[in-house]
Symmetry: C2
Subunit: 200 residues, 2 copies
């Protein structure tokens, strides 16, 4: 059986959300599984590459504010922008904590986080904003505290970030198909063909 | 009659070449003209945005070296990589000098420059490498010197770069369709739809 497609994303990245929706659809059409692997743009882009956050870049920040809703609408996805400062740490840790226990439920949790955050515009990246999603997925208060701030969850996220960097991942979303790295939801047409033909 | 599509590109940008091929095909299918407007990534990206050249970025540089030939092949275009250091100044100036005299011939010149540089892998961005193309397009030795290094050509390029920045252009290729800015050859699917529907 073929290895799962590696899907690398940051929970605060709207392009990561667009990529999540796309890769699941494409993978299913090829009978392939997708393994969701959170990374942190703050580490990859800011620390390793020395760049500013996308939205703070001159020119590019303005463009991205226009491109994201336009692209979501082009793809037929609902999108509401959130302006609050945010960190991906709570959902990334909680996802990996859940994944270590129940990978299927963890993916559904991540999809629910993205649907609330990007689709409904209700911030799901803070500890408070994420709590109702965690409850819906059956986490007790004690489990939730462990999932977003416990030592195991922190270590799982650090390992996930390190593994992404070691794979050469620098952006969200990225996809690894049988060893081949693709960056951007706008490479999904190539991912689709690579899955069908193994190259060209 | 509708205004031409603004096509912004850097002569050393392989994605700019992919965008050039794509936008001419799409524009033709909508009966629209394309106005080629050179910009300089060295000014937009390095000076205004404070970034390093793409190929010098950790992680991203390696990815781009793989992505460009893979994407060209995906699109069915021949591509040969050139490793020499290069500057877009000679072709950008010569193109604008020609465009001020004969816009139709100037576009064919730019396409010939890109075909030689990216398709054949023969550096067409140096004064020496560009000279045979200029001769094919009828420039005398004196005209060529004016075109690549004269005061008029330099002023035309400075104006072109300033106009691109004032339009919000920060990357190559970019497209402006009836006031709407799109960045990247991978937004051509959206450009195509925008030309058909004027939005969505």
């Amino acid at each position: 059986m073929a290895a799962p497609i590696g899907f690398y994303f940051d929970f605060i990245s709207p392009y990561g959300w667009l990529g999540a929706v796309g890769i699941e659809r494409i993978a299913a059409s090829h009978g392939r599984e997708v393994d969701w692997r959170p990374m942190l743009l703050g580490v990859a882009v800011m620390q390793v590459m020395g760049l500013k956050p996308l939205l703070d870049m001159p020119l590019k920040g303005d463009y991205v504010r226009r491109d994201v809703p336009r692209t979501a609408a082009f793809l037929g996805l609902p999108y509401k922008r959130i302006d609050a400062p945010m960190t991906p740490l709570p959902p990334a840790r909680a996802f990996l904590w859940l994944k270590a226990r129940d990978p299927v439920r963890a993916k559904a949790f991540a999809q629910a986080v993205q649907a609330q955050h990007f689709g409904e515009g209700v911030n799901a990246t803070t500890v408070d904003g994420l709590a109702p999603v965690a409850r819906r997925f059956g986490l007790s208060g004690e489990e939730y505290r462990e999932a977003v701030a416990g030592a195991e969850a922190k270590a799982l996220l650090k390992a996930s970030v390190d593994a992404a960097l070691a794979t050469g991942v620098f952006g969200s979303p990225s996809f690894v198909v049988d060893g081949e790295l693709f960056w951007g939801h706008d490479r999904l047409d190539q991912v689709d063909k690579w899955l069908a033909k193994g190259g060209w």
